[in-house]
Symmetry: C2
Subunit: 256 residues, 2 copies
């Protein structure tokens, strides 16, 4: 059975997409079978891997609306040995289109269930909101990975996010847990970053991954080349950190 993770945080720009894309690429390079699902209408995860969001034939929107199976919406990136369900801009309309539907929160979970035994890891990149798209991902997931930018405003939203995770666990998906918090854009030189790290560790303790992702311009350049950091700048601090994070996750999962 696959590990199914939602990568979520309603705070914008904290590194959700960067984490989803690079974790997926490293997991695959370490021999795991990986599916990346782009659940953000911005389609940043899709374009970070060179997919043109305006030209995809089928997307996570079609899967959510039940127009197509997850298998038929899946693209393969041969070079990275990665499967991807891309997003498209019409995904923004899904929330309103599904308002009246029964069990609208279970759509993604139902679509991914037949796929789960084909993969070792399924990663879902979420938009910066706690609406129906993120709730679908949380309902489909076994765990949620929470990127936390080392900034004050990013701290503010964590209690709201943990409340939603609890609600989803109580009402929709009893197996959902917080798999871990990932500290991103960490700049050891600033006092602010140290303070944020201390706060996050105080509240979440061992659930905070030891690996911190440093601020590294190579990470923000790589999407413009349609590549993960693994192929764009494998020797960079950003690449090393995501490789380390992947190993930390694998070691924890294998220990269980």
């Amino acid at each position: 059975m696959a590990y199914i993770y939602a990568i979520a945080n309603q705070k914008g720009g904290v590194g959700k997409t960067t984490t989803a894309v690079n974790l997926a690429a490293y997991l695959s390079s370490m021999g795991k079978r990986v599916l990346l699902v782009d659940m953000d209408p911005q389609a940043n995860a899709s374009s970070s891997l060179g997919i043109n969001k305006d030209k995809v034939e089928a997307s996570s929107y079609d899967v959510l609306l039940g127009n197509i199976t997850a298998a038929r919406a899946t693209l393969r990136n041969g070079k990275l040995n990665l499967a991807i369900i891309p997003s498209s801009p019409n995904l923004a309309a899904a929330e309103v289109e599904l308002v009246g539907e029964l069990a609208r929160e279970y759509r993604l979970r139902q679509a991914l269930t037949p796929e789960a035994d084909k993969y070792d890891y399924v990663l879902m990149d979420c938009p910066p909101s706690l609406g129906l798209l993120t709730v679908n991902a949380l309902t489909a997931a076994g765990g949620v990975l929470i990127p936390v930018q080392c900034e004050y405003l990013a701290l503010e939203g964590l209690s709201q996010l943990t409340r939603i995770v609890q609600l989803v666990r109580q009402r929709l998906n009893p197996q959902l847990e917080i798999r871990g918090l990932i500290l991103t854009m960490y700049d050891a030189r600033t006092a602010l970053a140290q303070q944020v790290v201390a706060e996050v560790q105080k509240f979440f303790g061992a659930r905070v991954f030891a690996t911190r992702i440093p601020r590294n311009v190579r990470l923000s350049e790589s999407p413009s080349y349609g590549q993960p950091i693994l192929t764009y700048a494998p020797g960079s601090p950003g690449a090393k950190a995501y490789a380390e994070l992947t190993q930390e996750l694998l070691a924890q999962n294998e220990r269980e």
Copy 2:
């Protein structure tokens, strides 16, 4: 009549809140009567000015639902001479609650119309999405200010944003225009920032404000003290840039 601006961009973490709060503070310090409206359920603009989002009695949620007038939801920050309609977490539910309502896009516009002659400037901080909250702000606004982070992924969403602005202008608010794009987190040392700036100027030309906001850690520290940069670190590069941006906006408006 007030200048009414929505500060919007569905890409997360590009500096919407930082721009809304600091532009409001500088406009007020230059003698303008200013109202700041927090339309983001994260309530970052509210907390950046020291307001506790879980303790507010009335918020933009109540105004949108029609439970209270905008005037009664307005708080005053005496030190900054600023009026603020705070947000609260229940704002996240407004979109679904208003789905069946007639003219649900005009709620904010209707609520702010009686207030417009009390202020010179009304600024609305939007969440990172193009849903009903942002559409309400675009329908209430005379212009939209678009913060653009100098990063590749931030470029991707601009065409989607301009499409929505056109749609709102055609169907809901014929006076809406793109008032200007603000380049944020600009780091002159990186080639990526230069490329992004060149792209933005190619597409938007004179609508790009000349003032660029540099990346400056003081800007990300000031919210943790509940203060705008104007009072927290008035001599910092971030403060100088927002003062300059405010003067550029005022000079353009006065020339009209």
